[in-house]
């Protein structure tokens, strides 16, 4: 039976693209939930570092807290300020969230999971689209029709723009080593070289780390949203689910920058030492790690005060063991070995992204906030020059290796040390400048004990 040509075209389209569509739907549906649970992880981690417990009431150990929060935000009254521009007010958080989720589409969570089929401008796409989220911020501040919102939005935008430049230049360093913008090819390059790029260009990684913290408005760079002009910046007039979109967009952005850093610097889905064959037993680490989590749950089950909590811990432990078995089976059953790279790769990728995000949270709870002028100074006077110098240094290292046959490690070490020297010089300059600029202009002090 022949179908009409339009229906035929649709069916062919679905046939070719159904994986990507399903992945896309999963991203749109699941990412807000994941972002919500990242919020819960942050709250529990914050509580742990502050000698308290965090959410414990809603669900066992607070595990249903994000659901409760989402429900509460959904049923809140939808307030729009009086003279606000309604369309843009509605649109701004949507842009923020959409930008974050779209950029997630190009990221490869494993050698096989990727919505955008390995487009040739992978990294550029991710960086570019995630910076469209800036539009959401500035529009939100504008549409709120409030002095303080727009000042906060402008500050936030200025901060994001400056640190994106630094982040982009830091990424260029790693891209030089990879030689391509394709995401899968970058990780493959790391596999071929046998080393994660962080070891070849640590300075670029740290610049990217600092820049990405500033990109996502996290502490210590959260002045625009902490007390900017004495209110909450561009998010002030937003409440209910609109605010939730901004908030989740921020955490989705964290996942995006974590994924970019993992791809470029931490070896993507590769296990540690991917090319060293006598370390192949490291392939057993994923199931072992998961099983270890399960064992810990069993250990903690004995210490729970209430019976339902004991049951809950055992349930979690058994789930962990089941997942560990799923991870371990392909290692032994040769016919299933083909899913190994995908499955284990996804595990390693998510582990590294989690580590990166853990670092974000750890820094948030430890460090005080930068003042806005100090923040901008750090971005423009220290990070950007350093990133430029780093790009040159990596170029020099690559030439030394290819043209002059230097040892790769030696060249990398030398150029890294040079870049660190430049960093020390810049920081020293910054300290001297701040000391001189804010020297107190006081009258001559009078010695009170001199008669």
């Amino acid at each position: 039976m022949t179908l009409p040509p339009s229906l035929e075209a649709i069916l062919t389209f679905l046939q070719n693209w159904w994986v990507e569509i399903v992945c896309g739907v999963v991203i749109v549906a699941v990412v807000p939930l994941i972002a919500g649970y990242v919020v819960l992880v942050e709250r529990k981690l914050m509580a742990d570092m502050q000698a308290r417990l965090g959410p414990m009431r809603v669900g066992p150990h607070g595990l249903l807290q994000p659901i409760a929060d989402a429900l509460k935000l959904l049923i809140k009254e939808d307030l729009i300020p009086d003279n606000a521009d309604k369309l843009i007010f509605w649109l701004a958080p949507v842009i923020s969230m959409v930008a974050a989720m779209t950029s997630m589409g190009a990221i490869a969570f494993g050698p096989t999971f990727q919505v955008a089929r390995d487009i040739n401008i992978g990294i550029l796409f991710v960086i570019g689209v995630s910076s469209l989220g800036l539009l959401g911020i500035i529009l939100g501040g504008w549409a709120s029709n409030s002095h303080y919102s727009i000042i906060g939005a402008i500050r936030s935008t200025a901060q994001l723009v400056s640190y994106e430049t630094a982040a982009g230049l830091a990424i260029v360093g790693a891209l030089l080593l990879a030689g391509t913008l394709r995401i899968r090819a970058i990780v493959d390059a790391q596999q071929q070289l046998g080393v994660w790029f962080i070891f070849l260009t640590p300075v670029a990684f740290f610049i990217y780390l600092v820049a990405s913290i500033a990109e996502t408005n996290r502490a210590p760079f959260d002045l625009p949203e902490a007390e900017s002009e004495l209110v909450a910046g561009y998010m002030t007039e937003y409440s209910g689910f609109r605010w939730a979109l901004y908030f989740l967009g921020e955490y989705a952005n964290m996942i995006v920058v974590g994924s970019v850093a993992t791809t470029l610097f931490l070896g993507g889905w590769l296990r540690p030492f991917p090319n060293v064959h006598w370390l192949d037993w490291l392939d057993f680490l994923p199931p072992l790690i998961i099983a270890a989590v399960g064992v810990y749950c069993v250990y903690r089950a004995g210490k729970q005060p209430a019976e339902i909590q004991i049951w809950f811990m055992w349930a979690v432990a058994l789930t962990c063991f089941a997942v560990a078995v799923i991870f371990a089976v392909p290692l032994f059953v040769t016919s299933l070995k083909f899913i190994l790279p995908g499955l284990h790769g996804a595990f390693w990728f998510l582990l590294k992204v989690s580590g990166y995000i853990y670092l974000f949270m750890w820094l948030r709870f430890t460090l005080p906030r930068y003042r806005f002028d100090q923040l901008m100074h750090l971005g423009w006077y220290i990070l950007i020059p350093l990133a430029i110098v780093n790009v040159l240094a990596i170029g020099v290292a690559m030439i030394l290796e290819s043209e002059f046959s230097w040892n790769r490690w030696f060249a990398a070490l030398l150029t890294s040390l040079f870049t660190l020297g430049v960093a020390a010089f810049l920081v020293n300059l910054y300290d001297k400048r701040t000391a001189a600029a804010s020297a107190p202009a006081t009258a001559a002090a009078r010695d009170p004990y001199a008669g």
Binding site: Q50, F372, R433, S438
Partner: protein, 381 residues
């Protein structure tokens, strides 16, 4: 290096984003960082603060007027409510002033126990200051650590007199309650743990370059300005004046103990932070020295049930955690004082805010208010 000065000139010439040459911003009475109901009007020029005006009185309860209609003992719980973060110090000042008025002295045992409790209260007050000040500047974690330590002190207070915050721990003439069994052990255990905890705060904040960047050269007050403006306590000491009322005119049992007076050099926020941290250490040392030898004896001096001091007046001040806390009491021979004047350290220190904030950015205003360590209950009475 003349960048900053050039920057200042251009901001003077340019108008701000909103088209006004001078902007008045109100840090309203409700604000998470003003430590109470304080209203500060900031005159801004671009980002820089040109002048400030503090509006206070939101917590004015007429305590001095109430005192004229209460007997001396009835008024004692009221003084706790002024600086409610350091209630024991307020009570010490008041009881000592009335004792001077009556020309009685508290017995030695009472004086030593008073000293221990007051020094513990000093540590507790500085812990609240540290936690909230760090929180204003953005460090989220020290708050919880400080309150965890303070919890131990409040437990000691609760065991001693039944209350944690507004303790009314002392009586005119001495103490009402004997030190409970295990008092020395509790204080010793707290002091032994506390050294390690102070090191935690030092690790988190003292060497942190962001902290130094936010507090160095922020809110500088020279020694001459301090004395002229009447600022006292850690504010005065951080500006370089090595003066502490506990050493200059000792009261309670302070002359028996060895302790240092920490001072700063610059008079900026960082120095005030260092001075208060060191004061906590010194208070801990005083407590350790005091519990080694608490003299035996009565805890209450010879005062009758009805207090009718001879007509006249007396002024007495102590070194409260926030500065010089003075009481001026005029008696007319009856059981109720004729006039009670309380000289609050926070009220006088807050006057210095205008001078300290000029020329700084708006984000620094919150840090400077925090570093003055004001409690509005005391400012407004």
């Amino acid at each position: 290096m003349g960048n900053a000065l050039q920057q200042e000139d251009t901001t003077k010439k340019n108008s701000t984003l909103l088209g006004a040459d001078e902007l008045v911003i109100n840090m309203g009475p409700q604000h998470p960082s003003t430590h109470g109901v304080l209203r500060v009007k900031l005159k801004l020029d671009g980002e820089r603060v040109r002048a400030t005006e503090c509006v206070i009185g939101y917590l004015h309860r007429g305590v001095e007027k109430i005192a004229e209609h209460r007997t001396y003992q009835q008024f004692a719980p009221y003084v706790d409510r002024m600086d409610y973060v350091a209630a024991v110090s307020n009570g010490l000042g008041y009881c000592e002033t009335v004792e001077k008025l009556l020309s009685v002295e508290a017995p030695p045992r009472a004086r030593v126990i008073r000293t221990i409790l007051t020094e513990l209260q000093r540590i507790a007050s500085h812990l609240v200051w540290l936690g909230t000040h760090a929180l204003d500047i953005g460090a989220l974690t020290p708050l919880f650590y400080c309150f965890r330590e303070r919890e131990e002190i409040l437990k000691i207070f609760e065991k001693y007199c039944g209350a944690r915050l507004t303790t009314h721990a002392f009586r005119i003439g001495g103490l009402q309650y004997e030190a409970y069994d295990g008092f020395e052990k509790d204080v010793e255990r707290f002091c032994k743990n506390f050294e390690r905890r102070i090191q935690d705060y030092v690790d988190l904040l003292t060497g942190n370059s962001i902290w130094i960047g936010r507090t160095r050269n922020v809110g500088v007050l020279s020694a001459a300005d301090c004395i002229a403006l009447g600022a006292s306590g850690p504010v005065l000491r951080a500006s370089g004046v090595k003066w502490d009322l506990r050493k200059a005119q000792p009261y309670a049992a302070y002359e028996q103990y060895q302790f240092d007076i920490p001072t700063g050099t610059n008079g900026d926020t960082y120095d005030r932070y260092m001075v208060r941290m060191e004061e906590m250490r010194q208070s801990r040392l005083i407590c350790l020295q005091a519990i080694e030898k608490i003299p035996e004896g009565p805890i209450l001096g010879k005062v009758g049930k009805v207090l009718k001091p001879a007509a006249g007046e007396v002024y007495h001040s102590i070194e409260a955690p926030k500065g010089i806390l003075g009481y001026y009491i005029v008696s007319d021979g009856t059981t109720q004082p004729y006039r009670v004047r309380i000289r609050p350290p926070s009220f006088v220190n807050l006057q210095a805010l205008d001078k300290m904030v000029r020329g700084h950015l708006v984000a620094d205003v919150v840090a400077i208010i925090g570093t003055l360590d004001i409690v509005l209950g005391e400012v407004d009475r």
